[in-house]
Subunit: 356 residues, 2 copies
């Protein structure tokens, strides 16, 4: 592969595919000139779309396949049977070294199952996690896991903390990101066994991160920490709840401005400022959930996003590659395996040493 970044695209995943995927890739190419694309999917549908985007056409290779992973396919089913699907072939391209990363707006469970099977997890990581960035009062934070692991033990949470830390340092360029563990209270005794044990581990010095401690739900939007760690059940429900309330808020606001003539006039004056407000909280800007912990870059786009949102998901994959996320997380994990963990060093042996 040359110096430029090559991204494999599941052209058939998500609503309005492949049109959205092709248009999104063109927008991404505009922002990241030099990127190359491998498009996997129905050539008869893709080629006419590409002809509208000559710049993208020149930077793309189309690999035809008839098969797709359906939105309601079970992950195990997609893994076993859809070996020639656009999703599978796009992931295979990463494993084969033909692309640096894969982006799909298709079935999340299938994408995770196939990516895990094909790309494998990194040494030292038991389970990959889904991570995303989002806007906070202070800027932006990253949160994981968002649903890859419905049940997590302390060790999983510790690994998520480490991955989130490396992500924040490499991609968000933070020197010493703070990492918080989501809980129902900030005191040490709060929460379930997993979060308490993970907190103890993260405090003992064996994991080289700046651990803030427990945070609560309202710390997410407040931007109290740069990295929010939680299990996949809580993370998934919380993130979707936030998306839901943001949508309700935006709708109610719009309705308010249509409420009266006076309000409509007010809107005309405030339009510019409101546009800035909308832009900052636009969920499409934060589209692109990263599968961290895999030995390859895989990004999931919202199925219902538009071309602008899909372009952002592609940008996330490019960012991970350009910033050397995989190399840095691998080095960090190798370093941790070499270094004895602090508790092994500090704790006295349970039985007296024969030498004493």
């Amino acid at each position: 592969m040359s110096e430029s970044v090559t991204i494999a695209l599941d052209a058939m995943g998500g609503d309005h595919a492949p049109a959205k995927v092709v248009h999104g890739a063109d927008l991404a190419l505009e922002r990241h000139p030099g990127t190359r694309f491998l498009l996997f999917g129905n050539e008869a549908q893709i080629q006419p779309l590409l002809s509208k985007f000559p710049r993208l056409a020149a930077a793309s290779v189309v690999h035809h396949t008839d098969e797709v992973v359906l939105d309601d396919a079970k992950p195990s089913q997609a893994l076993r049977s859809a070996r020639r699907s656009s999703m599978r072939l796009a992931i295979d391209a990463v494993a084969a070294g033909q692309a640096h990363g894969v982006v799909s707006a298709g079935n999340t469970g299938a994408l995770m199952a196939i990516a895990k099977f094909v790309l494998k997890t990194l040494p030292g990581i038991d389970r990959p996690a889904i991570a995303t960035m989002f806007p906070t009062r202070r800027g932006e934070s990253v949160m994981l896991d968002l649903g890859a692991n419905v049940e997590c033990d302390a060790e999983n949470l510790v690994q998520f903390a480490l991955m989130g830390d490396v992500f924040a340092r490499t991609v968000l360029s933070l020197r010493q990101p703070s990492v918080g563990l989501l809980n129902v209270g900030s005191e040490d005794l709060k929460g379930n066994d997993a979060v308490r044990a993970a907190s103890a581990r993260l405090r003992d010095g064996s994991v080289p991160i700046r651990f803030y401690g427990f945070i609560e739900g309202d710390d997410i939007a407040a931007g109290t920490v740069d990295v929010i760690v939680t299990d996949g059940f809580t993370g998934n429900v919380t993130l979707k709840a936030i998306e839901g309330i943001a949508k309700l808020f935006a709708e109610s606001l719009r309705a308010s401005f249509e409420h009266s003539l006076s309000a409509r006039i007010g809107y005309l004056f405030a339009r510019g400022a409101l546009q800035k407000f909308r832009t900052r909280l636009d969920p499409r800007r934060y589209n692109g959930a990263m599968f961290l912990g895999l030995a390859g870059i895989a990004v999931k786009s919202h199925g219902s996003t538009d071309a602008f949102g899909f372009a952002n998901a592609i940008a996330v994959a490019i960012d991970l590659q350009v910033n050397g996320f995989l190399q840095k997380i691998s080095a960090e994990l190798a370093r941790m395996r070499r270094a004895p963990v602090a508790e092994d060093v500090a704790e006295p042996a349970a039985q007296p040493s024969p030498a004493l």
Copy 2:
């Protein structure tokens, strides 16, 4: 007790107590004439405040105590040692039949521990749950548990579903409220063991509620169901996350209107409509978390709310009493104990009957 409702108030709980509590009680009395109050706390502080509210003074009896439960007291500690605290005495008044319900803005964990110990749980309920109402696209919904039970099994979730259903029927006056179980996806196979087993139980017909099935995080604000059931960990984190994002949203909006002269002019025109918008989503309107499953009415106010918010928490306690929540939930639980559950009837015996 007469026909009127009597509420016991922990006058010393929360920020700006007892001033906020006294002022809040006066606002509640204005909305619910005839209500009587028992105020527990420092008489030297309470009496001068009461003298400013003659209407409230005429409807109140002050019970002096010097002790308070501190905000950082552990529940077990508060339960053992604070027998003369304003919180404990207010709860004792409910147990003794002197008040219909108790409202406190103090330490949540202590309030739950003491209320559970003093008031006891209802027969058929293993663990009480914390519930609250909040605004949705369709109106308002109720959600539980919000943190009383960090880990829940299927049976706990089933009991929460039943309590939420009775609450929605009695207090929200819904004839057949829909009940949803919060999960990471809507398919039967999604989620952890507890939610899957609870869903199976709620579908088998043994619990007399209208079970919608699984819902996801974004269904909360959408108002997909009237009653949202979840474990206390997920519920606590989710609700606080929603509160956090709502606050960020409101702040960002305010900043937008201060962004330019044009925006400020726009605000003047749109002020009335924006006021309506703010009113609808004002968190103070939804203040008052109910402890459901206890053999008495106990409501927790946000510690940081103002008099208006505290008055709403009092109104929640009054609503529960006026609508006969305790009688109806008790009757429902008794009915379920009498009726054999569907699975006992429908399932063949594991071993052949001797009569066959």
